[in-house]
């Protein structure tokens, strides 16, 4: 099921200028699309628009169309859209519902809202906890977990909705390398299971591992895009205010120094 943005533009309520312009984006099944750009380039806005929160909950004006498998979803209410498209945010604590005294109930919150059978709720919850390797946290108070653990709980909560598409806005921003690794692995597994994921990130090293395509955003527009490896090696990346992956940076440093990078490339592999 492909999520497609066609000619999408967006302006926040009361803003002078649009935050997004002429966005054409495809998110087919099983694809992991990385979204990069300098801070305030529009990554978060694009995530909000793709998930439907903008303009439904956030307000503002949208142009263009969003379709799911060809069907226009512009008129769908938020709760209907949330069964197809899940969105995760950078701050783990604000994603907690605050009404769950255990991680299990927190993750079950979404499926419970869907009104599916209790067995279904329970099964989805355990599956989500296992996929993110946090079963042992099931009884813990989500409020008392570390930021990284909370982020995994939030992701499990999204996973339990069994959406076709995930939109993740810098999910590892506040995580340490171990937490980043966990989230990266989870993203890869979700994609292997057929979900599609749009993930905004500063960590291009992570994207190098999990993303198949990368879209580079600048001042609300798509600057350029393409297969992940190509985009991450593109010299225009640094101009766009995005840090290159460590491997690319090292290789480039060798080239700049007039040295043959082939040995470095060999050592990286």
């Amino acid at each position: 099921m492909t999520l497609r943005l066609s000619g999408v533009g967006y302006r926040y309520a009361g803003a002078q200028r649009p935050s997004l312009l002429d966005i054409d984006l495809d998110l087919p099944d099983g694809a992991v699309v990385g979204l990069v750009g300098a801070s305030e380039a529009g990554k978060t806005t694009l995530c909000l628009v793709a998930s439907g929160l903008a303009p439904r909950t956030v307000g503002g004006q949208i142009r263009g169309h969003i379709t799911l498998d060809g069907e226009n979803v512009d008129a769908w209410p938020m709760h209907r859209l949330s069964e197809r498209i899940a969105i995760g945010f950078e701050n783990p604590a604000t994603q907690l519902s605050q009404v769950a005294s255990t991680v299990f109930e927190e993750v079950a919150f979404g499926p419970m809202n869907l009104g599916v059978s209790r067995d279904d709720v329970v099964e989805r919850t355990w599956a989500a906890l296992e996929a993110l390797r946090i079963e042992e946290l099931a009884e813990r108070d989500p409020f008392r977990l570390s930021g990284g653990q909370q982020q995994l709980v939030a992701m499990a909560g999204l996973l339990a909705m069994r959406p076709a598409h995930f939109v993740l806005d810098e999910p590892t921003a506040q995580l340490d390398p171990a937490g980043t690794r966990l989230v990266g692995d989870a993203i890869a597994r979700l994609a292997a299971d057929g979900a599609s994921i749009l993930v905004a990130e500063q960590k291009t090293d992570l994207l190098a591992e999990v993303a198949s395509r990368i879209v580079v955003l600048g001042e609300g527009r798509i600057l350029f895009e393409g297969p992940a490896a190509e985009v991450l090696a593109d010299p225009r990346l640094t101009e766009a205010g995005v840090a290159e992956p460590a491997a690319v940076r090292l290789r480039r440093a060798a080239e700049v120094a007039g040295l043959d990078p082939v040995r470095i490339v060999g050592a990286i592999a």
């Binding site: 750009g37 300098a38 801070s39 305030e40 950078e90 570390s146 990284g148 810098e170 921003a173 506040q174 340490d176 390398p177 171990a178 500063q202 640094t238 205010g241 995005v242 840090a243 460590a246 491997a247 940076r249 090292l250 440093a253 060798a254 120094a257 040295l259 040995r263 470095i264 050592a267 990286i268």
Partner: protein
């Protein structure tokens, strides 16, 4: 300017609870740039909170220029050790950037030209000079983080501690933070940063302290901390050396924690050939 010491520092939370610090002995001299790395729960956050008195030792002591920190209140220690917290939204309260940055130095008794100068310098360094009258919540998250940094920079403390200064920053933001740290060290101020960005650590700091389970398990230069001999130690606390170190090792060079050192070794090898 200021020397920090911890002697046999132990910290236990609650009554016989978690032993977050298990005997830490450190000496950090003036002008040092120190990175504090380790897993969550290794004791890094607990340690830095002892440096400005937010936490008091269960055993052992912390001294600042020879004076026991226990004899000073947190407000007094704030004039010697500034601490920038990880989450700017747990600190920002003023209606304008300017007012926010003024808060710290005012508490320390600065006023007049001295205050204005400190605030201006802090805003310049963090790229917020044009946003004096902006409401902090009209800034994006990454700029709010720089605002939190500015508000402590303006206090002009001899020691400044940064808790995860680069999380949530884009490439330009990270570069800016690096420039600020270099400038601080150039002024003779001590900079201690908690970070889990190993590349940033290797390229910005001259001393790396690795913590695990409340103890210091490694204390040395980035070259020493990321040399192959240390990898197993790092792995025991779920840390990985930066790519440059791994590449350098594979190519048979000595310790190469930074890209520059890899290039240098490669070039030197080429010259020898």
């Amino acid at each position: 300017m200021t020397e920090l010491r911890t002697e046999g520092l132990v910290h236990v939370y609650g009554d016989g609870g978690v032993r977050a610090l298990d005997g830490v002995d450190l000496r950090i001299g003036p002008g040092e740039r120190v990175a504090l790395i380790g897993q969550n729960g290794s004791g890094k956050t607990t340690l830095v909170r002892h440096l400005n008195g937010l936490l008091r030792p269960t055993e052992g002591r912390v001294t600042i220029d020879g004076t026991d920190a226990a004899t000073m209140t947190v407000a007094q220690l704030a004039s010697r050790v500034g601490l920038v917290f990880q989450d700017p939204d747990r600190q920002i309260f003023a209606g304008s950037v300017d007012a926010e940055v003024q808060f710290g130095p005012r508490n320390l008794g600065r006023s007049g030209a001295e205050l204005r100068e400190a605030v201006a310098a802090a805003l310049d360094a963090t790229g917020l000079a044009d946003e004096r009258r902006t409401n902090p919540y009209d800034l994006g998250g990454s700029r709010r983080k720089l605002l939190a940094l500015a508000s402590v920079l303006a206090m002009r403390t001899p020691v400044i501690v940064l808790d995860e200064p680069t999380t949530g920053q884009d490439a330009r933001g990270v570069a800016r933070v690096r420039r600020i740290i270099d400038a601080l060290a150039g002024e003779g101020r001590t900079v201690i940063a908690i970070s889990h960005d190993m590349r940033f650590v290797a390229e910005t700091f001259e001393r790396v302290i690795v913590m695990r389970s409340g103890r210091v398990i490694l204390d040395g230069t980035p070259a020493e901390a990321f040399a192959a001999e240390a990898w197993q130690l790092l792995a025991s606390t779920h840390l990985e050396p930066p790519l440059a170190a791994r590449v350098g090792e594979r190519l048979g060079f000595g310790a190469t924690p930074t890209d520059a050192s890899v290039i240098e070794s490669l070039a030197a090898e080429g010259r020898r050939a």
